[in-house]
């Protein structure tokens, strides 16, 4: 193959492409850069751009003291971990049944699972609120997570992966006397690890950022996640200045933002993998 001479005829991107791509990138990062500037400078410099302006962490300290952010961080972390654990466990079991068992009603059951891909719990707020009220769970972390524990998306993704695992591995383990659950745990789960990572990243970022359902189902500091806490903090007109609000905003996004910058490749690949069905 004459790969070595191919580049000569391929269209090369022009310098114009590079300039335009960079312009858009700068424009795209501008609102965030502006927020950074405001959060790390005294409020007098919030709208004045002076390269000699002193840097400060005062705004973060003020935000941290002005609202129970420590509690909100704890709530969100617990919530995200709880949802992810439940999703991984339930969808692994269900996906295994769909991938490796033949049983009556399988197609109907699978269709029932797929319904959740089009009618998401995010829309069924009114009824789910009433269900939680009946169960006496309103204003608990458990209630925020419960509607998301069974994830059609995770079941679908894992089923595809499990179906791609050669049956011979399965049979070899069976010959050695392993039980079904042992096979699932020792053969299937380890081989599907990249899919688990991908789903975990997508799930964690979705639930870290989720807002409307937590807003409705919580009404106290003890159960409020970060997003709702941030909204309460920034909508109360109590003379909180912009620098503090921006600091709080960056603070709540920091774990995901830092995680993304450190593990950019995994993030991008996870989102890709999760999207391509």
């Amino acid at each position: 193959m004459s790969h070595s001479q191919a580049p000569a005829v391929i269209y090369r991107h022009t310098w114009l492409d590079t300039v335009a791509a960079w312009l858009l990138a700068l424009l795209w990062i501008l609102p965030l850069a502006y927020a950074f500037w405001t959060a790390f400078h005294p409020s007098d410099y919030a709208i004045r751009f002076d390269l000699t302006a002193p840097w400060t962490l005062q705004n973060f300290r003020k935000a941290w003291d002005a609202a129970p952010f420590a509690r909100y961080f704890l709530n969100t972390s617990l919530l995200v971990a709880l949802i992810l654990a439940a999703q991984l466990l339930l969808s692994t079991l269900a996906a295994f049944a769909f991938a490796r068992y033949q049983f009556r009603g399988k197609n109907i059951a699978f269709a029932l699972v797929l319904v959740q891909l089009m009618i998401m719990p995010d829309i069924l707020l009114v009824e789910n609120y009433q269900t939680m009220a009946r169960l006496g769970l309103v204003d608990t972390l458990f209630a925020i997570g419960l509607p998301y524990f069974a994830s059609a998306f995770a079941i679908f993704l894992l089923r595809q992966t499990f179906m791609g695992i050669p049956k011979e591995l399965d049979e070899a383990a069976r010959v050695e006397g392993a039980s079904t659950l042992q096979i699932l745990w020792r053969v299937y789960v380890p081989l599907a690890r990249p899919v688990y990572t991908a789903f975990a990243l997508v799930s964690v970022s979705f639930h870290w950022n989720n807002f409307l359902w937590p807003l409705i189902i919580t009404n106290s500091v003890e159960s409020r996640p970060l997003t709702v806490g941030l909204q309460v903090f920034s909508s109360v007109e109590q003379g909180v200045d912009w620098s503090t609000i921006t600091a709080a905003t960056l603070m709540t996004s920091a774990p995901l933002l830092i995680g993304f910058i450190l593990f950019q490749r995994q993030f991008v690949q996870s989102f890709m993998r999760a999207g391509i069905k």
């Binding site: 005829v9 919030a46 009618i119 991008v268």
Partner: protein
């Protein structure tokens, strides 16, 4: 004979195993997706229970109220406008970004990061950042327009620009997300296609239009369906930026549902609005399943 009966017994046992494995997930799905969807439909034909007065059958009264509710129609118009603006803008930008990032331009890693970063931020945080950006007099936007000698304008405060302002925020948040899928698809395209087209002397635009774009069609369908769903589901930023105002200029359907259901506590009417949203979202999914997927050319 004994062999076949034991295999039937075995398959029966395997069936039970399978259902046991499915049970926890199915119970939760039924409890929080199927049942509420059905219950919403039923509740939409009853009145809202108030105090000691239980809900009574009212037929289509809630739907009649909906038809006569000017805010509902405004929300429908706003949502259609919002969808019609965000969907093509975010998909078009995503495609452009993906094509650029797929080339070996200088500083590609930074450029890709700049495009993708808004996607990982919570929408509430995004809205806070843009609220400051749009603030009259202080905001960056005002400073730029002010420097250009343009008159001061309250972008979120005037009905004529508020919807456009929240649309821009949604595009900013979503374009980078869709870019990822285009980028993944572009990377799987065979590089010899590009060589062949170049040897044939095809222009770059021609190559994009006749080769890349058709091959990206499955990705476009996937992204399109997600964009439509998001256009009816993404309302977090409305809570921070405008709260549906000024004068309902930025009330989207799901926001209206929230106000009716959880501010006015008119749960019956809220159920009727939910039914409308469910119908919209499921027709998008069914349209994708029965029409688009059959027409799209897969590699």
């Amino acid at each position: 004979m004994s062999a076949s009966s034991s295999s039937i017994a075995g398959s029966g046992q395997r069936s039970i195993h399978a259902w046991l494995l499915l049970l926890p997930a199915l119970v939760l799905l039924v409890a929080f997706t199927h049942w509420p969807a059905v219950a919403t439909l039923i509740d939409s034909f009853y009145s809202t229970p108030k105090g000691a007065r239980a809900a009574v059958w009212v037929g289509a009264e809630n739907y009649q109220a909906m038809a006569e509710d000017p805010v509902f129609w405004q929300a429908v118009r706003n949502n259609l406008w919002f969808a019609a603006a965000t969907i093509p803008a975010s998909i078009g930008l995503a495609l452009l970004m993906a094509v650029w990032v797929n080339e070996r331009i200088a500083g590609r890693t930074f450029v890709r990061m700049a495009y993708f970063t808004p996607t990982v931020l919570p929408m509430i945080a995004v809205a806070n950042i843009w609220l400051f950006f749009y603030t009259p007099q202080y905001g960056l936007l005002e400073q730029v327009t002010g420097a250009l000698g343009l008159p001061s304008h309250n972008w979120l405060g005037s009905p004529s620009t508020a919807l456009g302002a929240i649309t821009l925020v949604a595009v900013w948040k979503e374009a980078g997300f869709f870019m990822i899928f285009y980028l993944a698809a572009l990377q799987t395209l065979n590089p010899s296609l590009k060589e062949a087209a170049a040897i044939e002397g095809a222009s770059r635009w021609y190559f994009f239009r006749r080769v890349q774009w058709p091959l990206l069609m499955p990705t476009t369908v996937f992204v399109l369906v997600n964009a439509v769903i998001n256009a009816f589901r993404l309302v977090d930023h409305v809570f921070i930026l405008t709260r549906g105002g000024p004068d309902n200029a930025t009330t989207l359907l799901l926001y209206h549902l929230y106000e009716v259901g959880f501010k006015f506590w008119d749960t019956a009417y809220a159920a009727a609005i939910t039914v409308v949203l469910v119908v919209v979202l499921s027709s998008v999914a069914l349209f994708q399943f029965f029409v688009l997927d059959k027409k799209v050319h897969y590699q």
